[in-house]
Amino acid sequence: MSQDKHLPAPDVAELDLTLSVEAYLPQRWDRATQVGIRPTRLLTERPWVRSLGRLDMHVKTEGWRFPTPPSDEPASRQGDSGQQGQETRAERCEGESCGLSPPLPLSPSPYLSAVNLRLRPTKDTVVLKERLLYLLQPPLESCLASKQVRLPLRPYPYQMEGIAFLMPRHAALLADEMGLGKTAQAVLALRLLFHAGLVRRSLIVCPKPLVSNWARELRLWADDLPFEVVGGDAQERSSCWLVSNCPLKLVNYELLTRDAALLADERIAFDVVILDEAQRIKNRDAKTAQVVRGIRRERSWALTGTPIENKPEDLVNLFAFVDPGRIPPDTPAKRLPHLTGDCILRRTKDDVLTDLPAKTIRDAYLELTPAQRQSYALAENEGVVHLNSLGETITIQHVFELVMRLKQICNFDPLTGHSAKLERLLADLTEIAESGRKALVFSQWVQPLEILAGALEPFGPLQFHGRIPDRERQTVLERFRSDSSKHVLLMSYGAGSVGLNLQFTNYVFLFDRWWNPAVEDQAINRAHRIGQRQPVFVTRFVTQETIEGRIAEVLDRKRQLFNELLEQNSPPPSLGLTEEEIFGLFDLQVRPKRCAA
């Protein structure tokens, strides 16, 4: 308390708390008051509306109507044509034996039921309607499984692919190896096109010996497809071409060529023309080729296992029918695969028939008998001397004559009839006959076949070659198939190398060699084809130190080149012997001034 007494006194300040007030006159206070007027809309008028745009939606459509399948056509129209066709077929095919080969077995391969194989338009199909037409076709499996298409057998998967290849194509070359069933694929493709209403008139052209084979295949694979075989005298054929409504005609090349004048009639036109063994038109200037190319048609299908027999021009000439204009003139061979690739389908047995029994080819190198050797040496020496004496006038025909002469001696000695090949053949056939099997023997000449027929009498030989009348050929084949005492069929390459189904035989002998390996393959494949259940053994007779051995060497090289062409898209080689190669068979000192082609 004593410290409080020493604090200083606080400062006192005086504050002015008076408020000053100022009064101002408002700026507009001195102006006169005004009254404003604004019009206002009454509710008697429509309210203002903002548009949100069009609320209705529009749709446009585009549509395509496709050809009417025959099954949907009025009954009267369908019945008319069908009835006519059936009657015609019955008349034409009556008396033909069509049991050429046993029914093909059910394929052990799966029926592609899990895979929907669909048709695809080709690359060069540009019209939308056509593209849609194929895209909208049902899967092949469902087509073939339907009640509408009754099949006796299941096609192999690769055959289904072949059908899918053919159907959308207007230009197609089916070049499957022999024995893979090109005929069946073509028939089924054709049948499905008929069912789809895409085809109404078609023509099949085949070699004469194969007409009955085609008739059989048509009955087997397309029993609902009426067909007629063009035949008879000129008046009958004229009626067949011009009057008949049968949707499918079958004709051989010879008759077709004979009826060239008729075919010029504008009323004759086809939706599809199928050429079987189409290598028949490889010569562009031949009458047959010209007539075939002149047929009015929408689709051109060619079937051949040997699209190139000798040279690239074979393929070019085939395409003159398949798709004229696809291959421009003077196209280099190396461009052919590029130009034709989309139109060609080729499969080999190795590709697709992994379950086909093996084919064993063995060359039997034989020593000529002494008599043959003597005749051969004499003929060759004299022949070479003669050729050399011709000097520059020598032609390939001169060389050819000598080759043929020597080859004939290799078969049989002209003086004694001795034959090393026959001796070997007798030994082999004895074994074959004892096992109850059958064999085919091929030669390029008829004469050796006739000699063999006598020598092979114990084996019940039958002959099938150019001297056997056409009307008897079918009977020969049927006897060979059904008669267990007939163990050997003697065939010429020309008559028996194409189209025949002889898969009930297991042995093939090439008594002499053909000039072209493709023709030999055709012959061998009479036995080694679909339906064959046993291994096939092919024996090629080659006499040692003769012209045969030299030719065989050249042909083997050719065969290798052939495989390269179609499997690797390399430039096509020449398969037959060239002029240079034929001259090279002999050690000639001379060469022609100008060789014939």
Partner: protein
């Protein structure tokens, strides 16, 4: 040429609606009773905007698929059909405007009839129909009994979609 008699002159209609970025697009295929194409028609794409979505609400899809696209496609198609199959539920309302049965298949195919040794069983598809027409399924099943048993009702939709894709690639429906 046929062995098995089948109804003539009329076929089966298969209608599908694709809903993609550019809108709804319809495809209609008429086949005969062997499943072969007789006529095909497709529509332009219909793209509803936000206003449509608000205004049509839950009925929008049905309106577009049935009333707009489906009806137009069928009216423009000349081939007559005995029944229309669709894999799009929204199309069922089309039945309200047509005199032929309209039935819907499961779009995923998961309930398609398994292949069976019994042909009758193989035809029993799990079909659905419009609630106002409960007899449609039975009618269609009865009709199918007279048709090839191998007929796969789901398969044509694969073809239609492929054809629509092809048409779009080639510029169809964008030419006008």
């Amino acid at each position: 040429m046929t062995q098995t008699p089948a109804p003539r002159t009329q076929g089966l209609g298969f209608l599908t609606i694709l809903h993609e970025d550019n809108g709804y697009m319809g495809g209609y295929l008429v086949t005969n009773f062997w499943s072969r194409p007789v006529e095909f028609r497709l529509s332009t794409a219909v793209q509803p905007n936000r206003i449509h979505q608000i205004l049509y609400g839950g009925t929008l899809q049905s309106y577009i698929c049935a009333d707009l696209i489906g009806k137009t496609l069928i009216e423009k198609t000349t081939a007559a059909v005995q029944a229309i199959f669709t894999d799009c539920e929204s199309v069922l309302d089309l039945r309200l405007q047509l005199d032929v049965p309209v039935v819907c298949l499961p779009s995923d195919g998961s309930t398609a009839p398994a292949s069976s040794s019994d042909p009758a069983a193989s035809r029993k598809w799990p079909l659905r129909c419009h609630s106002r027409f409960p007899g449609d399924v039975a009618a269609v099943q009865a009709m199918l009994d007279g048709v090839d048993g191998s007929l796969d009702l789901a398969e044509p939709f694969v073809r239609i979609r492929e054809a629509m894709s092809e048409a779009r690639k080639l510029g169809a429906m964008s030419r006008n």
